[in-house]
Symmetry: C2
Subunit: 297 residues, 2 copies
Amino acid sequence: MKILECVPNFSEGRDEKKVEQIVEEVRKTPGAKLLDYFSDPDHNRTVVTFLGEPAPVREAALRASLKALELIDMRTHKGGHPRIGAVDVIPFVPIRGLDMTEAAHMAREMGKELGELGQLPIYFYGEAATDPRRKKLADIRKGQYESLKEKLATPGWNPDAGTSDFNPKSGAAIVGARMPLIAFNVNLRPPKLDQAKAVARKVRESSGGIPSVQALGLELKEKAMVQVSMNLTDYRRASIPTVVEAIRREIAGKGLEIAECEVVGLIPMEALVDVVRDSLKMPEFDMKQIIETHLLE
Amino acid sequence: MKILECVPNFSEGRDEKKVEQIVEEVRKTPGAKLLDYFSDPDHNRTVVTFLGEPAPVREAALRASLKALELIDMRTHKGGHPRIGAVDVIPFVPIRGLDMTEAAHMAREMGKELGELGQLPIYFYGEAATDPRRKKLADIRKGQYESLKEKLATPGWNPDAGTSDFNPKSGAAIVGARMPLIAFNVNLRPPKLDQAKAVARKVRESSGGIPSVQALGLELKEKAMVQVSMNLTDYRRASIPTVVEAIRREIAGKGLEIAECEVVGLIPMEALVDVVRDSLKMPEFDMKQIIETHLLE
């Protein structure tokens, strides 16, 4: 069985009725399994998570997006989170049985269809990007909805699919593919915040650390610990054991120890199997040895 | 989703056509997923592994057993493995979403049905046993098929279901429930066989070690290692981390180290999650955080 996840972000987080109508499109698509949805009224934004075989996931993403385009009017949208349109971003995430190339292809096909049916400009991002300058969401979103009309007229920013004309009601949509994001924290004691920040600087990609790792040093007052709070944006490049080992090396001899770890939210089975392989020294352990995986074939 | 596994052992391991006919009954039962089957001509015995929701698994077990009763004649059966009948033993194994009580209840219901339809004596074993003396397979099987007629006439050995009369063609069937068996090895170096044997004695239940652990010390000549070869018969009582930690304590200061571990064959996801929780110090990690589990709901 191929499993694709989709985590679209819609620019509506206050009107519950509208949110429900959008989410309902996912619920009623046979073969798409809704895992979660979360609306943030301050951001005025809703994040929906669902998964299944690629075809129904694509179908659910399209239906929910068309409903969002119908219900959301960007001309009156205000919210604390950057956004470029009503269907702000649609990431497709390969979980099992398909690779990134296939997920990226699916993202582009879905983006084209959405652009045509919704009559709006589409940008491809992440692993579906057509240009390295369009890899990062923040770069595409820069200037937000309010600058989109100018952006569309700027050389180098013609959309990848859909219309080239500004759509005042819907803005643009950003469609792409990325690896699953793992929110992984390592909690240290004693609570020396400076040291946690130093560890975070050492491990994160942006300051020359491990590729695909984002990290911050935080204080956990109630626990009397400090935290290296991380996003692992590609666990195949930087696995949990790799990151934990790097932190262990970093704190060695500095009077700090790892008190506990946390996975926040969801994680693919393969990322946990990395932990098992490493901690039991059995690199050849195969996912197919897990009984339950045979029901996912 | 509830997941039940069934691992019946049939007393035919030489005639491929008969084996295929028996296995075909599993294959053609909707909702039962055949994982594996293995015939040993010396043992003259075939072990079949399949799983799915309880109802189809029970149905597949019944169909395959009735086919085995039709094809196998114990009056001419010879083989190296102890056996009491054509359908020698049918273990039901709870994998997910159901507890041992439910699996044991299912085993008894299936055993009754098999006893009536097949007109043979049924003994319940393991967690489905009606008497502590019937917990262990070896105790029920003692004397094998050849002594079954006398056994049935012996006080205390009346069957739990089916007929009380000896069935010369089919013998008896032993039906029950047990936890999944995990074949787990810890390989040590340098290759000191005496020490591996001493470690095995320390950890196994039979010599006063950890309940539900069976262990042997073996030599691995090619690898220049020794092995503590184990069966974990109830990972909820003795988990992989518990066993590894016990071995670590046992070898501490004796010049031995754990070179690698091995899981042979299949393992339930929960037993691996035990390893993750322990090695990352995150006891509160929940199976529901694994993305794939949502497709097994």
